[in-house]
Amino acid sequence: MDRRVAVGILVAVFVGAIALVGIAFANGAADAGALAVRDPCEPRGAFPGQGLDATLQRLVLDGLDGAACELGATREELVLSLSPRSNADIPWDDETIERALRAGLLGAIDDAEQRGSLNGVVAAILRPIVERAPVQWLIDGGQGIAGLFD
């Protein structure tokens, strides 16, 4: 092979290598796989959809955000800490989690009512449920929430 051809191939492969890395970065390589959980204290878009299911999910998700914000954790860390088999490092006791969850859910009901996305009558029914709901079920693995939706 002629040396000029070899140098040409070398240059072409180097250009290809730079292009490969450039395309990878343009497609999000730098952030791929990084922690992608949001700050629960910052507002985020509401869970989409209509009907009872979507409304209840919005309430629960907003409630989890409020509870996580109060605990200084992420929503995901809080949810994982609710599982008795979780390997997550849980810095809170059950009472602290329960108190934060109740406060978060009550705050979510208040917000939903103020936004007009939750009927005042339904909000009035939900408040005592949240105040007295068996939050221990959540701590035992989320079975309680499943029961609420069934």
């Binding site: 092979m1 002629d2 040396r3 051809v5 070899a6 140098v7 191939i9 070398l10 492969v13 180097f14 290809g16 290598a17 730079i18 490969l20 890395v21 990878a24 970065f25 497609n27 999000g28 390589a29 730098a30 791929a32 796989g33 990084a34 922690l35 992608a36 959980v37 949001r38 869970f47 989409p48 959809g49 299911d53 209840l56 999910q57 629960v60 998700l61 989890l64 992420t74 929503r75 995901e76 860390e77 949810v79 994982l80 599982s83 088999r85 390997n87 997550a88 693995g141 989320g142 079975q143 929430i145 499943a146 939706f149 069934d150």
Partner: protein, 448 residues
């Protein structure tokens, strides 16, 4: 084909296999882990023991190799390699397998040490012998994982060692049929010292290859979930590109080819460090860059090391140095990767939880699905990535697009987080490859 050519081919294949053995069991590691009652560290010693013993044996042989006839070394190496390969295939405990792999490393060192002078005698010239030995070694090193993957899936991990036995037997026949005398070597100061820049670069390149041949293979099999044969097909981009690079390397001045090859290897490893997704096109292109870099750098550096008189001792020294580079890189990467993957598992758990929580599916599907996912994770052995296909199918992924979307996002979140766990190790390997440019540039006149 003449009998002489057949002997040359047999010895060249044995050289390729001895180099390939550094990485040939990488794709069999999950099967070995499942076969024996062992830890991940225990399985890793199946690789490390071979390379460590080979490096140590070769470096010790440097001091005695000139006193022994090359064909005797080749015969002894072939016998030890053959016996150890059979022992590996019959191993019924991880301890026995590691011991047999250590003996195989000793056989590999003897075989590689004796093979070059014998190849040179049969090929008709020292230069031709060096060319065949170098080509076989380079291609063998690149083909290791692919060969092992195909044999593991087609048969099982024992087939890797069964297949090596006849190769060593053929090399033994070649050794018996030759009468190559040992050549009195020049002393250490004027001989091996001159090879240090090229050997230093080769050691760094060998260390960098841990990224492509070990980490890259584990990534596509264990993280992307490819079968060993599919993984072998992806990784075969390395030897294919290595072959394509050979005429280019031959047409360029050696320092330019070696330096450019090292940089190309580094760029391929950077490509593997920054994969944006588990799309195979990125991985294949990165593996191809690694292979092209290997094909550009290693043959020229090997020729620089093995040129002139005393090729037997020089070959022994370079075999030791190359495998030492590989072992040292493994020693750094193993704890680095372990720490990073531990952290990546935590990130994967949090990101996957976010996907489930935010998944746009009904709560009556979401909550039982989340509980079943948790149970699936609990059942998977430590270190393995769970397969959620069955769980999602139970909850309607075949019929409901929204469930399927959550499944895809969940799998991507986990794969990407774990893939990122390999990033520092790939970057370390890329650094080793880039560092290889320094001795090449500093001693370019001596290497030219």
């Amino acid at each position: 084909m003449s009998a002489r050519s057949l002997v040359v081919a047999a010895i060249a294949v044995a050289v390729a296999v001895a180099f390939a053995d550094s990485s040939i069991v990488v794709l069999a590691l999950p099967e070995l882990y499942g076969t024996f009652d062992t830890t991940i560290e225990g399985v890793a010693w199946v690789i490390t023991s071979y390379n460590l013993v080979l490096a140590a044996s070769a470096l010790l042989l440097v001091f005695v190799v000139h006193r022994v006839r090359a064909n005797v070394l080749l015969a002894a190496g072939s016998v030890v390699f053959l016996g150890a390969s059979i022992a590996c295939a019959l191993a019924n405990s991880i301890g026995f397998l590691i011991a047999a792999r250590s003996v195989q490393g000793l056989g590999g060192a003897l075989l590689l040490t004796g093979s070059l002078p014998v190849l040179a005698a049969f090929a008709g010239s020292n230069a031709r012998g060096v060319a065949i030995w170098t080509a076989a070694g380079t291609l063998g090193a690149g083909m290791g994982p692919a060969l092992g993957g195909i044999l593991t899936q087609a048969f099982d991990w024992r087939a890797i060692f069964v297949a090596q036995a006849p190769v060593a037997g053929l090399a033994l026949l070649g050794a018996v049929g030759s009468h190559v005398s040992a050549i009195l070597e020049e002393g250490w100061t004027s001989g091996l010292r001159r090879t240090l820049p090229a050997n230093g670069a080769l050691a760094l390149v060998s260390g960098a290859l841990v990224g492509a041949l070990f980490l890259g293979v584990v990534l596509v099999i264990d993280v992307f979930g490819l079968s060993p044969i599919a993984g072998a097909a992806v990784v075969s981009a390395i030897p294919v590109a290595t072959l394509l690079a050979r005429p280019v390397a031959a047409a360029l001045p050696m320092p330019l080819a070696a330096g450019a090859g090292a940089l190309m290897l580094a760029s391929g490893l950077i490509g593997l460090a920054f994969l944006p997704s588990s799309e195979l096109a990125y991985a294949i292109a990165s593996f191809a860059l690694c292979g092209f870099g290997l094909g550009l750098s290693v043959p020229g550096l090997s020729h620089a090391v093995l040129g002139g008189q005393g090729t037997g001792r020089k070959a022994t020294f370079t075999v030791g140095v190359r495998h030492l580079g590989l072992v040292l890189a493994l020693a750094v990467i193993a704890p680095l990767l372990t720490d990073d993957l531990f952290e990546a598992a935590e990130v994967a758990e949090l990101n996957a939880t976010a996907v489930i929580i935010d998944g746009e599916i009904s709560a009556t599907t979401k909550i039982p699905l989340a509980l079943d996912i948790r149970d699936t994770i609990d059942r998977v052995p430590e270190g393995e990535i769970p397969d959620f296909t069955a769980v999602f199918e139970e909850h309607g992924s075949r019929t409901e697009t929204s469930v399927r979307t959550v499944q895809d996002e969940l799998v991507a979140a986990i794969e990407q987080a774990v893939t990122r766990g390999f990033r520092s190790s790939f970057q370390f390997c890329a650094l080793l490859a880039a560092l290889a440019v320094i001795p090449v540039a500093a001693f370019r006149r001596r290497l030219a």
